[in-house]
């Protein structure tokens, strides 16, 4: 690995962390689309800033672009508040309008500006190491690294300082307001951080990947944990992992770095979406199957409890009577036997004491919904878990 390669991976990783932090809160606030809007509509801010300073890394660009980001949010909310269109429509109206202003500004001045729409959309991460920051004649590293590093430092400081406020206003806006934590201040604070991060990451990874880096790691983490701090940590981890593995994928395929990182983000989300232990598609399918079996078991036990007559409890008769197919009847019979809930004597099924207690308890729970009593059964049966 040469130093440029290390620098690219370092920049990509810092961008990933800086995006994961506001991204986590955007996902929890169901505002993922806002990051899409911000990433596009900051373009006119960048272009105007560039015209003024002639420098893509000037702090003025960040200020102007962040301002455009906040203006986007304000405009979306203003249009939405009129009640004439819904929020997603308002977003769809505002950001293309601002983005197109940026595109026209670039096109009109294309001759004397080295800023093109392609670079804006997918970034130029590969070129980042060539733009160095020189302080009194000494090369102290790529400019992009410094910019995103400073933004990340500010983001982390704000996160640590206002974690409690962010959490309460994201979970329960009404409570936050009544406790004196103005949801509006926190909302616009988060929007400002999102905008600044977007601008900082923009140069390196472009408008489309910024959205992916904000939303995909957070969405992936959401499927894996029920703890906000762990969700933040996991989102950062997935971001970094995708950044580095994406870089090497691009290296291998000789393809765009931004595109490869986004591909990795998508693949990781897909894997977690399928295989996550609790919320994953496969886990949910397994749980539903298990619940179906357990409902059958309960139906079967209840039938036994309700009928003392020998003819109602004959193995073959049960199958005809409850109207189950052979396989299902066999599964349920075996499950009940394995759990010592029934005994079979000469093909006549009877409830054991354990089976009898279990049935009464389960029925009692289903009828009265007494939660506390059922806790010990939750460990063994999916049926009673939510």
């Amino acid at each position: 690995m040469n130093s440029a390669q290390i620098e690219i991976q370092l920049i990509a990783s810092l961008v990933a962390i800086a995006c994961a932090i506001p991204g986590t809160f955007l996902v929890l606030r169901k505002m993922a689309m806002i990051s899409d809007a911000i990433s596009h509509s900051i373009l006119p801010g960048i272009v105007v800033g560039f015209f003024i300073t002639q420098d893509l890394n000037s702090p003025l660009l960040i200020v102007l672009a962040a301002l455009t980001g906040v203006i986007t949010v304000v405009l979306v909310e203003y249009i939405q508040k009129t009640g004439l269109v819904k929020e997603d429509t308002a977003i769809g109206l505002v950001f293309p309008a601002l983005f197109s202003i940026g595109v026209i500004l670039i096109a009109k001045n294309a001759n004397d500006v080295h800023l093109d729409v392609d670079a804006v959309l997918v970034g130029e991460l590969a070129l980042a190491p060539f733009d160095r920051l020189i302080v009194s004649g000494v090369d102290i590293g790529p400019k992009s690294l410094w910019i995103i590093g400073i933004i990340l430092l500010i983001t982390i400081t704000l996160l640590i300082a206002f974690f409690k406020e962010l959490k309460v206003s994201t979970f329960d806006k009404g409570l936050a307001a009544s406790l004196g934590f103005s949801p509006a201040i926190i909302h616009y604070g988060l929007m400002t951080v999102s905008s600044v991060t977007t601008v900082g990451a923009f140069d390196a990874v472009g408008a489309i990947l910024v959205v992916a880096l904000m939303i995909a790691p957070a969405a992936t983490a959401y499927l894996l944990t029920t703890n906000l701090k762990k969700m933040l940590a996991l989102a950062m981890f997935f971001g970094i992992f995708s950044a580095i593995s994406g870089y090497w994928l691009a290296h291998l395929l000789d393809a765009s770095i931004a595109g490869s990182i986004t591909t990795m983000l998508g693949l990781i989300f897909l894997a977690v979406y399928l295989f996550a232990p609790n919320k994953g598609v496969i886990a949910v399918m397994y749980r539903e199957k298990q619940q179906r079996t357990e409902v059958s078991l309960l139906t079967f036990l209840l039938h036994l409890k309700n009928h003392n007559e020998v003819e109602e409890r004959h193995v073959n008769h049960l199958r005809e009577h409850i109207n189950w197919q052979k396989v299902r009847a066999k599964t349920v019979l075996e499950l009940a036997l394995k759990n010592n809930m029934i005994v079979v004597n000469n093909d006549i099924v009877s409830l054991t004491k354990k089976g009898d207690t279990f049935t009464s308890k389960a029925i009692d729970y289903i009828i009265t919904n007494k939660d506390a009593q059922i806790e010990d059964m939750k460990d063994d049966f999916f049926l009673f878990r939510g």
């Binding site: 409690k164 409570l175 506390a372 806790e375």
Partner: protein, 255 residues
């Protein structure tokens, strides 16, 4: 029941919440119109009225969550923003996302954030208070449970515990009995009665008219305008019910 009714007026005679000429509108359509209301300290009060009567809006305006277009609200003589620490709020259960990645204990701890102010983080003292509140509502065994894994009744108890931990003087609750089982309803009302016994003022948006005389000692009838307010035994009658719900109020009772 007689116990509830014996205490119909506040012993101290102090006004806990005073509302003057309050008008609230959504898009220029008044939801609350010129409300004047005095809530005495130490009452357990139901706010009743048909759907769209502005019951939740009234609470939200008192708490500064909604901005009124006219009028003022004072808590013990001062504006709400100066008296936040005296007030606890239990929003409707449906107003939050129960899939939020957090535990029962954490949600209850949020009740202590108000006393902490900005930036400062909850410590051992806050955690202890939260655990005590969980104990009070019978939810201690569930403290580490992710909130989506709780039943509706349990979620409501968590909300109640979160309000208890604020150790306020005035409690506002928006339909705490909505979607809870009978056991939880009894558990909640017992806690509310304990709060009243401790001299707290409790204001509850309530839907079930039949339980008003049993649960509450004070009632406010609301339907965009204030219809009546006072002791349940004096004003909870057909006359006021008809004025609030219209001629067919008996239908609403049966629902």
């Amino acid at each position: 029941m007689s116990g509830n009714k014996s205490k119909t007026t506040s012993s101290s005679g102090v006004i806990a919440v005073k509302i003057d000429d309050l008008t609230v509108a959504y898009n220029y359509k008044p939801v609350l119109w010129d409300i004047d209301l005095e809530i005495p300290e130490g009452v357990l009060m139901a706010i009743v009225g048909p759907n769209g009567a502005g019951k939740s809006t009234l609470i939200k305006s008192i708490l500064g969550i909604l901005k009124p277009i006219a009028g003022s609200v004072t808590i013990y003589g001062k504006p709400y923003s100066k008296q936040r620490k005296l007030v606890a709020y239990v929003p409707q259960k449906g107003s939050v996302d129960w899939d939020f990645p957090t535990t029962a204990l954490d949600v209850v701890t949020m009740g202590t954030y108000g006393s902490l102010g900005w930036i400062k983080r909850p410590g051992q003292k806050q955690k202890k208070a939260a655990l005590e509140a969980l104990e009070k509502v019978g939810m201690l065994p569930f403290k580490g449970r992710q909130i989506s894994q709780l039943s509706g009744g349990q979620q409501q108890r968590i909300f109640l515990a979160r309000a208890l931990v604020q150790n306020a003087s005035i409690y506002f609750m928006d339909e705490p009995f909505q979607g809870v089982d009978a056991t939880t309803e009894i558990a909640i009302i017992n806690i509310l009665k304990e709060l009243r016994k401790a001299g707290k003022t409790v204001i509850v948006v309530h839907h079930d008219l039949q339980t008003v005389p049993e649960y509450f000692d004070w009632v406010t009838f609301l339907n965009v305008k204030k219809i009546a307010t006072g002791p349940v035994k004096d004003i909870f009658n057909d006359d006021n019910l008809t004025k609030t719900y219209g001629i067919n109020y008996k239908v609403s009772i049966q629902e």
